[in-house]
Amino acid sequence: MKLVTYCQSRTDWDLLKAGKPCEVILTPKALSRFGKLSFEECVQLANEMRELGFRTLLEWDLLMVESSWNSLRPNLTASFLANFSAVRVQDLGALNFLHKNFPEVLIQPILETSFHSYSAIAEIVEFLGESLDRVILSLEIPKEELSKILTKLTVPTELLGIGPLLLFYTPRSLLSAQFQNEDIRDRLLVGASQESPHKGFPLLENDRGTFMFNPKNHCLLENFNELQEFGLSHLRIDLRNKMEWYSLAAGLFSNYSRENVEKLKEGSGEKYLQGYYRVNKSDVLFKKLKNQRLIPMDQNYLGDILDVEKKAYIALHLNSSEKTIKIGDELEIKTPEGKSKVFRISEMMDANRQFLKEAKSGMVYFPHLSSISIRSKVFLREKT
């Protein structure tokens, strides 16, 4: 497994040389969310890196509206792009643009957002064909699924090994308005929710937008050997604000040990999580978001109880004009509280208090039944 990491400055580059990453990600300010380099600096560094045998990657992870795109377009020439071994993109517009206009440019699609299935990843692999360099995979894919995906994929793959976890990204400037008397741009602030126990969210505003990170960083380095066995080809080390720990992180690739992982984690002063690596159950709570008893999962659903007058009537609003109910039919009522009651229609009236023999739509009033509340669901029982 190979190491990939970021270079944001010449100082970073001096640190990186010794650690010998196989690839270095260069982050131009105009294209990268957290980039600090000018295009010229990127080219200069890329040339130096190439001379020393490093692969260089240009990061283009900004999402762009049409006007930003138009202003950027003149910079994206074949000669500029030729300075880099590959370009990393998230915006599918950027991916499409590079693929169609510069077939010689190798592309690393960042599939961390919205590509959680093998099928979706495979579509991008097929679309890019020979232009594909490798795919950057989502952190929301649990390891059981990840191993299957890595077995099926025949292209190089990458995951974040250690680094911040971005939770929120907007192009709007949200923080500077809060601190009008000081320049907070490009400075890490900290947010604490006042309505939940969560605190310690790193917040950053720069000229590309506002970003919120998870209080705990992501770390999969403990699973180094397992990921290697699954067939992952690259792990990314994102220590952009902690470059002093880079050499220790890089050392893990030549001489992996759990002790050094712990040393790195402790030394960095950050807290870490593995996110959804072990299991992803982020959809299991959905059923609790609403009263399942109010979901009429039955083809014999007739409508809802809208009114209950004790000792007088219950009122059914017939939603379905497909079904006719008649005297003698058996109905089942399911209450929001989970009770169920079956009764046979002995009499029914309309709002004019006229007795009905049958009804297909509108309001129908039955003699009162105990324990029935409004919003109960009513179903026609099949005759056996």
Binding site: N96, S114, L174, D283, L289, E309, A315, G362
Partner: protein, 394 residues
């Protein structure tokens, strides 16, 4: 120049009926799976059948949301649902996941609309999705009307834009706060709306602290730039809000229906009853309004730096269930009493104020004050129709 389609939200059958009757050209709704509103009632398979028939009988299209980001196991059950939707005659599927887009285009004839979740914000991205078989793009809310026009011209695709309702502050599909703080995947329907929370923000270097709802966006209101939507050739105007009330659905649909019809008739909005429309849009629960990114990039004034509240909503008294020769049967949602002034909200045209002189129970007994969760009879109001809304006039 034709007017755009008016696309309204339908969180359940009642809201669908309201949207259709109050003038939507199309509605969007979700089944029990694959959408982004897990907390909404949504539609069972049987309800979908009835909903599509109801809408189609009234020349209204139905678009079904399948716009979650799919994991592999979710994709396995999608083909059966697609078959069902195709048999019902669903007019489009709203999708954000590439695997789902390809599955639909390869195995069914249902047109695909790309969900705003895909954050398609430029013509190159639109071109990518066109190549994948997408017919319409629901643009990200970061895109201006000017940019939307350019994307439409360059891509040749149908363009849908939000015109009214709540706004994600984040690039859609790029927010995972709920995933990591609540264990609920926001991109599979579990958004906990953490962006609406109050946060304390601290600058560690100065120790300065500020409390703010800095991630909460004001609501979008596009009524003031409707002519620009039309002139830009936007094909569909989307009202956000499947989780909102039927009062919201009805009122907003009605206002935009009337505005679009006005433009259709007069080819401009000069002398339009804009103030009336504005007043109507104020009657539903909403955050402060803004035009967000429609004309200029959204600035600091588009942040809704307040706690959520609903004190600006007109009181919904109920809806008309049946119209009889001498009375209206009302489903009561909020209490009202004899002597109150009610406002009937017809499907077309201005509302009518009526002084309530009599209320009777279903058993024809006099009622002085109604109770929510009951049905009562009030005197006939000329022009009233089943499912008209009744509001209170303060």
């Amino acid at each position: 120049m034709g007017t755009p389609e008016l696309l309204a939200p339908a969180g359940n059958f009642e809201k669908l009926r309201t949207a259709v009757l109050y003038g939507a050209d199309a509605v969007y709704l979700g089944g029990q799976n694959f959408g982004l509103r897990a907390a909404s009632e949504n539609f069972t398979d049987q309800e979908l059948d009835a909903a599509i028939k109801f809408a189609h009988d009234r020349n209204c299209k139905v678009f079904v949301t399948l716009n979650s980001f799919f994991h592999q196991k979710d994709l396995e059950t999608l083909p059966e649902f697609l078959q069902y939707l195709e048999a019902l005659g669903a007019d489009a599927a709203i999708v954000s996941d590439l695997a789902a887009v390809k599955l639909i285009t390869r195995t069914s004839r249902i047109p695909v609309h790309l969900s705003t979740q895909a954050s398609c914000n430029n013509s190159q991205a639109a071109s990518f999705w066109k190549d994948q078989g997408v017919q319409r793009i629901v643009l990200g809310r970061e895109v201006s009307l000017y940019e939307a026009q350019s994307i439409k011209e360059k891509s040749g695709l149908e363009i849908e834009m939000f015109v009214h309702g709540s706004m994600c502050m984040s690039y859609s599909g790029n927010c995972v706060i709920s995933n990591y703080t609540q264990g609920r995947d926001s991109n599979r329907g579990g958004c906990a709306h953490s962006c609406r929370f109050e946060y304390q923000i601290e600058d560690p270097s100065t120790k300065q602290k500020k409390n703010s709802f800095f991630m909460s966006s004001k609501d979008l209101n596009g009524i003031g730039v409707l002519s620009q939507y039309i002139e830009a050739g936007i094909d569909s105007l989307k009202i956000e809000g499947r989780m909102k009330s039927y009062h919201y659905t009805g009122t907003i649909s009605k206002v935009y229906r009337e505005a679009l019809d006005y433009y259709s008739l007069h080819n401009s909005f000069s002398k339009s009853p804009r103030e009336y429309w504005d007043r109507e849009l104020e009657k539903v629960s909403h955050r402060s309004y803004s035009e967000a990114n429609l004309l200029l990039p959204a600035g600091p004034d588009t942040v809704y730096d307040e706690r959520e509240h609903v004190d600006n909503e007109s009181q919904v008294l109920g809806r008309i269930l049946e119209v009889h020769s001498d009375f209206l049967l009302i489903e009561v949602r909020s209490a009202f009493e004899i002597g109150d002034t009610l406002e009937l909200v017809p499907f077309i045209g201005a509302g009518e104020s009526v002084l309530l002189t009599s209320i009777k129970s279903v058993l024809d007994l006099e009622v002085k004050r109604t109770r929510p969760g009951t049905t009562v009879k009030i005197p006939l109001i000329p022009g009233a129709a089943p499912y008209n809304l009744l509001r209170g006039l303060s």
